[in-house]
Symmetry: none
Subunit: 220 residues, 4 copies
DNA sequence: AATGAATGAGAGTTCATTCAT
DNA sequence: GATGAATGAACTCTCATTCAT
């Protein structure tokens, strides 16, 4: 019993943990959150008992999957910024690549059930803050570059971006493939519009995005 | 003994039925489909038994709520077309007003669970087809008006529109109020962009949107 | 509200009552006791409310059906005795004709659920006693006639007879038609056997058949 | 993960399974099939969950109890044949001992509800066929021995025998004890009658007893 | 008096979680 | 440490019975 939470897990335990998260991510993405623990354990090739040894309850597993995904998104965001020549390019690449993460990220932010799970999770908050800091920088710089319209702020971009992070209603294969790309391109054109049409309210900043905080729904 | 389904319900039965659908719509919108029948019945002010007398099972209730909403959307679409001076205005008003229906419409098209319930429902198919016909007309006319970009088609508009029909991650009140409006305005600017940035694939038509048709997922 | 239970029902009420009993008899015979009140009411062409006005609860209906059948059996028993030349012939005819009543009579005596319903019902007791009195006479006289073996009594005959009052496992049509007849003939040969094989215990009299009395199963 | 159904159960699981079947047999015999799963679980000393882990649903439990009993009957039939000096003695012993199994066997063949559960069950069919083969041999040999009347066949014996496999209306203890024995003896005398009275139809063979086969009743 | 709508207790079944092996 | 068996609360749905129309 490692009293110290920092104590790294034994290799096999670590492997189990990873397998479970991977399996859960896959299944959550494919079928939504409504899966039994039994099924996740089976997909991960372990018994339920093992699953529960790693994650005290269902919510802990969901949170872990969500955290895992935030990390991936953050990593990708940083890579985009580091490797692309302009902030606008970084933003585009980030959005485009995050498409790949769509299936999993949506769970972390979209499902009301998942959201309530994440409420108040410290690690999640940190990740989100870090992500928003990066995004802030890109957005403001893209505006300085003159490509991104000036009457918006990071919050607006993030919201638009969040919309894309949902699975579209399934259609046939071709549409499923190009549809999201086309939507994104249309959105990017909207973000680039100069002059755009007047927007109601004020630019929404990253501070306006206290996602999932102050949640009160007790049951969901 | 009204064996005939056409036989109108008794007034009180009718009232109950309406209350149930209203309550279900409200709750589904707020908490998603994952609500117990008990809870819906309570919200509607009736007993579970009554709920089940009206709707043979959970799916029947979901389907009824969905159909109810399709009707509302269709009505609003037609009103927009009839009353607005230009097709573009009609499109904008439709999208804007459908915002109000957002909470409920999403159930009909977005949730995979709901989608599987609707699969093969004749009435739903009719509503969808009627809706797409109206949308087709508006879109093409708006392009003729020169406002809507030419490299897209009804399917693209509908997809973008469908994205908005999701509940945004809840934030504080002000953001929740203006956020969707701003997103929509940005999207509209994207749809209006002339010239827009190049889009991948070909314009998606209304025929590409065989939502929920030919579904085979056995489990969902 | 007729304070006097003797007050005859109005003609239409009477007709309803009869229709309900007839419908219930039919359905009970065909599908067993496990039928909803709704279904019985529908088969009788009345609403549930009417059914409940006539029979205060489910058990009362079952009891009424049972009593109705006892009456029929008793009538047939008396007719057999009156019209047949020998007691043995009367017995045979009675058993053979009661075959026709089988489907319904079994409910009154066979199903444990029904039995518990009948427990302590005064009218049922009277009918049964009357029936046994008739049977006693026939049995003893048939013994006096020298046809029926002497080492048995009415209780034995009744038990054997009760066995036949069950629906045989369904087979194909031909078997279903002749099977019961053959069984009965074999039983009659057993009853006629002179000398028969030794029987354990003592002859069972009609007094030994306190069917369904002193029942204690509370739930069934 | 025993995907293989052959994998033997863990000892404790096995013990629970047996307890459940035993409890179910007892209760079914006493009160009929109309018992709640809760009650069966309680009688077996386990939770409902355990019951459902072992038997996916109510029908599976009924089927398991039935199969268990067919095995017992078959075993007894074979022992009778092996150990008794004549076929007639084997038949008598079999019938007499199967009396003990009466309470449970009736479930397998008598209740219409149970019958529909067993329809198409392969194991049940095998057991029944094996049982009828044994019975065929005994019956024909007993006829060769000159004890059993010649105008009947296995089907007739089985039908008569099946009648006994029902619970008699309960009476007082003494009668309940000797009653079935006396009935059986009377039946045996009927089977032995030489010459017996003429029987309608033709001898029913074991092939006539396609119990519960080709069932099509969808509701029962 | 008749009808059928409403009710709610209870049955079958699932699944998150605990615990013996 | 891992496993999967056991548990029981919760959910969906049915039906005997009551009550407004």
């Amino acid at each position: 019993m490692p009293a110290d939470p920092e104590t790294p897990l034994r290799v096999d335990a670590r492997r189990n943990r990873d397998q479970i998260i991977a399996a859960a991510r896959e299944i959550f993405a494919r079928q939504g959150l409504d899966v039994s623990m039994e099924e996740i354990a089976r997909a991960a090739g372990v018994g339920v008992g093992t699953l529960y040894r790693r994650f005290p309850d269902r919510d802990a597993l969901v949170a872990a999957v969500a955290r895992d995904n935030f990390t991936r998104v953050l990593t990708e965001a940083r890579a985009s910024i580091a490797e692309e020549p302009t902030a606008w390019d970084a933003l585009v690449r980030f959005l485009r690549h995050s498409q790949e993460l769509k299936l999993s990220v949506q769970l972390a932010m979209v499902s009301p059930a998942a959201a309530s799970v994440m409420a108040g999770d410290v690690l999640t908050d940190e990740f989100r803050d870090a992500l928003l800091r990066e995004l802030d920088a890109v957005v403001h710089q893209a505006q300085a570059e003159g490509v991104l319209r000036k009457d918006i702020d990071t919050g607006d971009v993030a919201m638009l971006f969040a919309l894309l992070l949902r699975q579209l209603p399934s259609t046939d294969d071709e549409v499923a493939r190009v549809g999201p790309d086309r939507c994104m391109a249309l959105m990017l054109d909207g973000l680039r519009a100069q002059p755009g049409s007047p927007l109601s309210g004020r630019p929404l900043t990253s501070a306006d995005l206290n996602w999932s905080a102050k949640r009160q729904c007790p049951s969901a």
